[in-house]
Each structure stands twice: as structure tokens, then as C-alpha cells.
């Protein structure tokens, strides 16, 4: 590698060491520990099918979390995708229940997702409002509109549409396959294309990016559109898995999504993070949640664990990054 006959200006950390203190390594180790601990709790844990089946419950959130990772790396945040999932799914279910042909109903759901992404993008990029507050507002709005459409009732979807999670491809449930494929594609985009490269550059230093001719507004705009669209896909998938749609679909899902990104080592202030990290973190979260269910831990304790994990994850990631920054 070193064809350069130059003297180092500063002592350089060896490669293995930088690899070891990467947050993704932490995630991976935790995952191994989690699987080991889980296998002590229940032999189910070593059954890959059991884990895959458990993963389908989280697969929609995990899919959106992959895009959210890119949004956070670009220096923004989106808290609205879970509400977006609910509204897209409600619109879709309502449309098909009122007799609109299925393809059109799906189209309506997806278009709604895109529109919701557009509203976020417009307020954050065109109006230059902080994404944190904007997406708290749109989170409330989207969830509220879902409630307007669905009321307190649940809307059923036709029998034949139910069960996306029961479709197996090579023995793997379709939502999990989608998650894995999307993770691969996004990993290549984020790590291998100029678009991905520029996402990191914007998140690291937006001013410098602008001076280097990088169109940061354009990139961020497209990310908000993308997350809106993917959230609506995830919402419709959830509808198929559950068989019916209520306004509280994926309620509180923003926590899980942010948690997956944070556990995977995405830096809350932007510029750092990987798809691999979020990918591992999604599995970790599934293992932890399933482990808690297997161990008969109250759902309540699970909430505490999730909230606590989020805080521990950002503290740990911040510490790791502040160490390597020096």
C-alpha cells in the first residue's frame, strides 16, 4: 500500500486497532454475545428459522432504518417514517376497501409516502427549518391523518393479500430477503458510489461540501423523498403481514428505527456510520427482543431496555468517535 516515500507527520494508529474500535465491531460482538446468551435461555435460538421468523416482525422497521441511516449520516434526522408507514397503509387499505382495484390502491399508498417525504424535504431543505422539529410535527400530522382515515377501527385487507411474511425464498421469508437485498444495494451505494461518498461529505462539513461544488440540497432532498417512499412500501408490507390496518400501525416505530441506526454506530451529528452497522444492529435488536420474550420478560421491561439501549448506544458511539477524532 505504501508506495509513498514520505515520513509520517503523526504516529498512525495501526489498521487492526482502527478496525477494533469501530462501532460496528462493538455491534457485532454484542450480537454474538446476544445469540450466545439467547441459546442458553432457549434452544430455539440456535434454530435459524426461529430467528428468521422473529425477524419478520421487525423487518419493515429495519428496512426503513437502512435509509434513515443515510439521512442521519447526511446530518439530518427523520422521526416521521413510522407515522408515514401508518398513513400509507391506512390510505392503501381504505382505498382497496372502498372498491378501488388493488394495483391502484397500492399506487395511492406509495404516492402518499412520496408526498409525505416531499413535505419533509420541502420544509427542511427549501424552508431551512431544523429537521428535528419538522419531523416531530409531521410525525404528529401523519399519525393523526391515519387516525382520521381509519378512526378507531381496523381495516381488513383481502385474504389473498395477507401473508407477505409467509412467502419463502430459499427458505427465507420475503421481508427478510428484501431487507438483506436492500442492505446490500445500499451498502454498495453508500460505500461505492459518488452519491454515497457525497452523503458522508455533506454530513461531515456541509460548508466545505458546498465549496467543493457538491449539491447538498439536491442530495438531502432526494434522501427525504427516498425515505418517504420506502416507508410507504414498509407500511403496505406491514399491512400484508398483519392482515388488517389500524392507525396505530408501527406506533413508536421511530424509536426502534433510530435505535437500529444508533446501535449500529451511526453518529448522531452526521458524517459517520455504515449500512453494515445498521444491518447488524437490526439483528441485534431482534435477538434482544426475542430473547426477552423467550425469557418471559414483561413487554414493559422491553420498553425500558430499548430506551436504555438507545441512550447507551449514543453515549458509546460518541465516546468511540471522540477518541478516534483526536
Amino acid at each position: 500500500m505504501s508506495t509513498l516515500d514520505t515520513t509520517p507527520s503523526t504516529p498512525v494508529t495501526p489498521r487492526w486497532q482502527t478496525l477494533l474500535i469501530r462501532p460496528e465491531t462493538m455491534t457485532f460482538l454484542l450480537l454474538v454475545v446476544g445469540i450466545f446468551a439467547g441459546s442458553q435461555l432457549s434452544p430455539f435460538f440456535l434454530d435459524i428459522n426461529y430467528i428468521l421468523k422473529s425477524f419478520t416482525l421487525y423487518s419493515e422497521l429495519a428496512i426503513v432504518a437502512l435509509i434513515l441511516t443515510m439521512v442521519i449520516i447526511a446530518g439530518e434526522i427523520d422521526l416521521s417514517p413510522a407515522a408515514n408507514m401508518a398513513l400509507s397503509a391506512c390510505l392503501f387499505a381504505w382505498a382497496q376497501a372502498s372498491g378501488i382495484p388493488m394495483p391502484v390502491a397500492i399506487g395511492i399508498g406509495l404516492a402518499a409516502g412520496l408526498l409525505m417525504g416531499l413535505l419533509n424535504a420541502w420544509m427542511v431543505i427549501s424552508l431551512q427549518l431544523p429537521s428535528i422539529i419538522v419531523t416531530i410535527g409531521t410525525l404528529t400530522l401523519y399519525r393523526g391523518l391515519a387516525q382520521v382515515i381509519a378512526g378507531d377501527k381496523s381495516i381488513r385487507v383481502p385474504e389473498w393479500f395477507i401473508g407477505v411474511d409467509k412467502i419463502m425464498i430459499l427458505g427465507i421469508p420475503l421481508p427478510v430477503v428484501l431487507f438483506i437485498v436492500l442492505a446490500l444495494v445500499l451498502a454498495v451505494i453508500l460505500g461505492g458510489t459518488i452519491f454515497g461518498r457525497q452523503i458522508y461529505q455533506i454530513g461531515t462539513n456541509e460548508t466545505a461540501a458546498r465549496y467543493a461544488g457538491i449539491r447538498s440540497a439536491r442530495i438531502k432532498f432526494s434522501l427525504f423523498l427516498l425515505i418517504g417512499f420506502v416507508a410507504s412500501v414498509a407500511g403496505i408490507m406491514t399491512a400484508s403481514r398483519l392482515g388488517s390496518v389500524r392507525y396505530d400501525l408501527a406506533l413508536g416505530g421511530e424509536l426502534q428505527m433510530v435505535l437500529m441506526a444508533m446501535l449500529g454506530g451511526t453518529y448522531i451529528f452526521g458524517g459517520r456510520g455504515t449500512i453494515l452497522g445498521t444491518f447488524l444492529a437490526a439483528w441485534l435488536l431482534v435477538v434482544v427482543s426475542t430473547g426477552m420474550i423467550v425469557a418471559n420478560v414483561l413487554p414493559a421491561v422491553q420498553l425500558v431496555v430499548l430506551g436504555g439501549l438507545l441512550i447507551v448506544a449514543i453515549i458509546a458511539t460518541n465516546l468511540i468517535y471522540s477518541r478516534t477524532q483526536r
Binding site: 434526522i77 422521526l79 420544509m123 424552508l127 431551512q128 427549518l129 431544523p130 428535528i132 422539529i133 419538522v134 416531530i136 410535527g137 409531521t138 410525525l139 404528529t140 400530522l141 401523519y142 399519525r143 393523526g144 391523518l145 387516525q147 382520521v148 378512526g151 378507531d152 392507525y247 413508536g252 421511530e254 424509536l255 433510530v258 444508533m262 448522531i268 451529528f269 414483561l298 413487554p299 414493559a300 421491561v301 422491553q302 420498553l303 425500558v304 431496555v305 430499548l306 430506551g307 436504555g308 438507545l310 441512550i311 449514543i314 453515549i315 460518541n318
Partner: protein, 328 residues
């Protein structure tokens, strides 16, 4: 003349006008909206939000946000509820200081995480939103505290009235608003919160202890959520681990931002916030009369937050332009 002009130009007058116009509009369709009885309904919808909004306003003025208030409300209501249920000798009023103390402790926890590790408040409180909600389930063993355990004196706070048929709980809410006003406008630390939010970089240069002030702000937000928690038990007569306080944060944030508090910190008034709360109360009271299902409330809160953001931005824009002109 210029006094009148400056009064008219204030954000508060804008909201007041909106309230009047809204009530007149609804009243023209449904005349029963403009009765005293209706006013009582409106007022009864607001006390919890008003109390929570006072704390949230201070947090937003200090350039933070607190998403965990609904969960803090839940925990503190549940702690008092459990004590009422299992501690026979507990006097009915003891729930007030206990809930406030529990809330303050939880709020302090938020503040410590934010200041100690320099984390963004939004993520910390998103985490504690879930964490504190889980706590509520744990201490209650996921069971609701039913009507019979809530002392009747406590419930009476929401039903009996010292004067004019207005229940105690409303007086408490306005009392909190007045205290917040005195605190924010007439104590040194109250002004320091505004200074901190107005210019965080300059604040330490003028001797403001940023860490302590931030901790105090989050503790206040927690304490007021705690007060709202015990009053929830009073108002509804039960404490439910999953419903109590759920979604509270969005109502409160909506009220605060429409009341004119700026998400850029340093700006916010008690009067504006009170009016913001009342406007939301009017909307909530009008919906059933107009035949709009109550389920559309959340959507309205969301829309209100977004509209307030856009208004805030255009006001700020003018402010900047004005600054440049004045500098000429």
C-alpha cells in the same frame, strides 16, 4: 398610538384574534358554542396541557426539546396511584408533592444525560420517553389503578369549585402559569434561561452557568409533568400504564409553538403559551359539536406545529431583514 401598535404587532394578539375568529366562526354554525357552559368545557380540556406547556416552553426557550413529558407524567401518576392503593395511611394530598418530586427526578435524569455527555436533547428524551413508559408498566405490574383507589378528595379537585363553578384544577393550572411568569420574568435564573437560549455562545462569557441552568430547566419540565400526572388521576379518576400521558408531548409542543415560542431559543411568553393552549382547547371542544370525530385531533396538532414553524420562520426572516435595514 405606538403602544397600541406594538400591542397589535405582538404574537399574543395574533393568537387572541385567531381564538375569537375561530369561536365566532364555530358559533355562527352552532350557536351553543358561545355559551358559558361551553367555556367551562373548553377550560376543563386544558389544565394538564397548560401545566405541561409551561415546562416545555422553558425547555424550548433554552433551545432544547423534551419529548419524554408524557412518560414522566405517566410514571409520576403511577407512583402516587400505587401509594394510594397500597399505603392505607397515605393522606390524599401527599400525591401532589410525591408526583412532583418523582417528575423532577426523572427530568433531572434527562438533564444529566444531556449535559454530562453533550447529547442532543431530542434523542435522549426519545430514549427516556420509552424508558420511563416502561418504568410505568414495571411499577404497576401493567395493571391500571382503578377509580376506587383514587381518593375522592383528589378527584374533587376536578369537580368541586371554590367560586363561579370553575373547578380547582383550573385554578391550579392558571396558578402554575402565573408562577411560571414570575419565575421567567422576575428571577435572575429565569432571565438567564432566555439569555442562554438567545445566545448560547455568549452565555458563559456573561457568567451564566450553562450546565446548572440546563439541569434546572429539565427538572422543572419534569416536575410540572409530575404535577400534571397527579392531576390526571384527579381529572380522570384512574391511572393506566399505557394511556396515561401517551401523546401528551405532541399536544404540549403544539401549544407551545403556536404560542410563539421560537425553536431557535430565547423567545417565548407565558401569555402566548396560555393562549396557545386555549386555542387548542377551543379546537378540541368544537370538533364534537361540528360532528368531526375526535380522532382528527392529533392531525390538527400536527398541522398546528407545522404552521407555527412556518410562521415562526417568516417572522424571523422579517426580523433579519429589519436588522439589516436598521444597520444601514
Amino acid at each position: 398610538m405606538s403602544t397600541l401598535r406594538s400591542i397589535l404587532l405582538r404574537r399574543e394578539s395574533g393568537i387572541a384574534v385567531m381564538i375569537v375568529l375561530f369561536c365566532l366562526a364555530v358559533g355562527s354554525v352552532k350557536p351553543q358554542f358561545l355559551t358559558l357552559d361551553q367555556l367551562r368545557i373548553i377550560l376543563l380540556l386544558t389544565p394538564l396541557i397548560m401545566i405541561g406547556a409551561m415546562g416545555q416552553m422553558l425547555v424550548i426557550v433554552a433551545r432544547h426539546v423534551d419529548l419524554s413529558i408524557g412518560s414522566m407524567l405517566g410514571v409520576s401518576a403511577m407512583v402516587s396511584g400505587m401509594l394510594y392503593r397500597y399505603v392505607e395511611v397515605m393522606p390524599w394530598w401527599a400525591g401532589l408533592p410525591i408526583s412532583i418530586a418523582v417528575g423532577a427526578t426523572l427530568g433531572l435524569g434527562n438533564g444529566l444525560l444531556i449535559t454530562l455527555f453533550r447529547l442532543p436533547a431530542i434523542i435522549v428524551t426519545l430514549g427516556t420517553l420509552s424508558l420511563y413508559r416502561g418504568l410505568t408498566f414495571i411499577i404497576s405490574n401493567a395493571k391500571q389503578i382503578d377509580r376506587q383507589y383514587i381518593p375522592s378528595e383528589l378527584k374533587a379537585l376536578s369537580q368541586t369549585s371554590p367560586i363561579f363553578g370553575i373547578p380547582w384544577i383550573i385554578f391550579i393550572a392558571f396558578g402554575v402559569a402565573i408562577l411560571t411568569y414570575l419565575f421567567a420574568m422576575h428571577t435572575r435564573v429565569g432571565r438567564q434561561i432566555f439569555a442562554l437560549g438567545s445566545n448560547p455562545v455568549a452565555a458563559p462569557l456573561r457568567g451564566i452557568k450553562v450546565t446548572q441552568v440546563t439541569l434546572l430547566v429539565f427538572a422543572i419540565s419534569g416536575a410540572l409533568s409530575g404535577l400534571a400526572g397527579i392531576l390526571y388521576a384527579s381529572r380522570w379518576g384512574f391511572v393506566n400504564p399505557s394511556n396515561t400521558g401517551a401523546g401528551f408531548e405532541f399536544q404540549v409542543i403544539a401549544a407551545v409553538v403556536i404560542g410563539g415560542a421560537s425553536i431557535n431559543g430565547g423567545v417565548g411568553t407565558v401569555l402566548g403559551t396560555v393562549l396557545g393552549v386555549l386555542l387548542l382547547g377551543c379546537v378540541a371542544a368544537a370538533l364534537p359539536l361540528l360532528g368531526i370525530p375526535g380522532t382528527s385531533q392529533a392531525a390538527i396538532y400536527g398541522a398546528v406545529i407545522l404552521i407555527a414553524l412556518v410562521i415562526d420562520r417568516s417572522v424571523r426572516r422579517q426580523g433579519i431583514v429589519g436588522l439589516k435595514r436598521a444597520g444601514a
